[in-house]
Subunit: 218 residues, 2 copies
Amino acid sequence: MPTSVPTSVPTTARQSTATKGRRTREAILARAVDLACRLGLGGLTIGGLAAEVGLSKSGMYAHFGSKEALQLAVLDAAEREFTAAVITPALRAARGEPRVLALVDGWLACGRERMPGGCVFVKASTELDEQAGPVRDRLREQHLDLRRVIARIVEGGITEHQLLPDTDPDRFAGDLHAVMLGYYHAHRLLADPQAEPHARAAVAALLDAVRSTEGTRP
Amino acid sequence: MPTSVPTSVPTTARQSTATKGRRTREAILARAVDLACRLGLGGLTIGGLAAEVGLSKSGMYAHFGSKEALQLAVLDAAEREFTAAVITPALRAARGEPRVLALVDGWLACGRERMPGGCVFVKASTELDEQAGPVRDRLREQHLDLRRVIARIVEGGITEHQLLPDTDPDRFAGDLHAVMLGYYHAHRLLADPQAEPHARAAVAALLDAVRSTEGTRP
C-alpha cells in the first residue's frame, strides 16, 4: 500500500473508508509533529491536538488510543519526514564522500528551514533523556538507526578507497551528529550567522582526517 | 559581600536577617535548579517550587516576584555552579592546551555526574530556542559568554605558540561546544559506553588540527 495520498479512485467502499481514515490520520499526525516541535512531546496532549485540528477528543482517542501511542506515532511520522527529506536524497548521491556531503546538505537544510518549532528529535532528546519508557526507547532506537545509516555511508567510502581503511564508522557517525547538534544550537539559540559555514568546515575537517590518498590516484 | 555562606557570626541583627534571607534564597535556588533540570525551565512554577521546598506560595513570590524572575535566577544560579565546577578550575591550569584539556575534563565530569536531571542549559536551549523574551536573551548571553571564555583560552594557546597563529578561536569554541553536545546526547539518551572516549578523541582531533610545531621546540 502506498503511504502517500493515492490519486486513483478506490474500487470498494471498504477501501474508500480505509483510505479516508488513513488520510485523516496522516493529516492529524502532520499537525501533531508541528505541535510537538513547538511544545515538546510532553506538551502534546490528546485534548490539545483535538482542539488544534478541530476534532473531538473521543475522535482523537479512536485514532491514537492514548497519549503514549500518539507520541510514538509522532516520532514515527517525524522519522518518515526526515528520511524523505534527508536520508533518501543522500542515498541517491554517489557512494562515499559525495554521499556524506549530500547527507549534510539535506540535514542542514532541514535545520535551517524548519521554522517555527525546530526539530522534534533534538527537543525530545533532552526532554526524554531520563524518562524511561516506550517513547524514550523508540527515540533512542531511532537515533541508533540514524547512526547505523551514517556508519554504512562511511563504510561505503572505505570500500571505495576514498576513506582510510582504519576509519571508525561509528565514531565518525557520532562526530557528525555532534557537528549537527552544534549547528542547531548555534543557528537557533545563538542566531550565529557563521553557524552553517562553521558546520560545513567541521564536516570537511572530519573528512580530511579520514580521507585516503589512494582514492584520488588515477 | 561573600557569595558563599559566611562562617563568622554577624555583628548586627540587620546583617543576620539579610544573611538568613540570602541563605534561604540560595537553598531555594539550589532546589529550583534541580527541578528545572528535571522538568525544564517552563515546567518550573512558583507553586511547584513552593511545594518542593515546603514554603508558602506567597513566601516564594516575596523571594522571586514572578515566574520569569525565578527562571532568570535559576539560570544565574546554574551559571555560578558551572563556573565553580568547570571554568574556575580550568583557569588554574597552565595556559594553552593544558587549559583546554582541563576545561574538557571538568565539563565531561559535569555531564557525567549530574544525575538525575541533566544539564539545565542543554535542556533550556532547545526548550527556549524560539520563545523570545528576557529568559531566552539571558540564556543566549550566557552561551555567548561561554564561547568568549573558550575563545580566550584558545587565544592563550596562540600567544604561547602552542596553537597556530591563524587558529580561529571562535570557530574552535563552537566546535568544542558541538563535541560536548554530542557527548551529552550519546551519554544520556543513547547510554553509549564510548561517549566519553569518543568526545576526548574528537577534542584531540580539534587540537591536532590547530597545533603549532613551534611550541614543541626546545
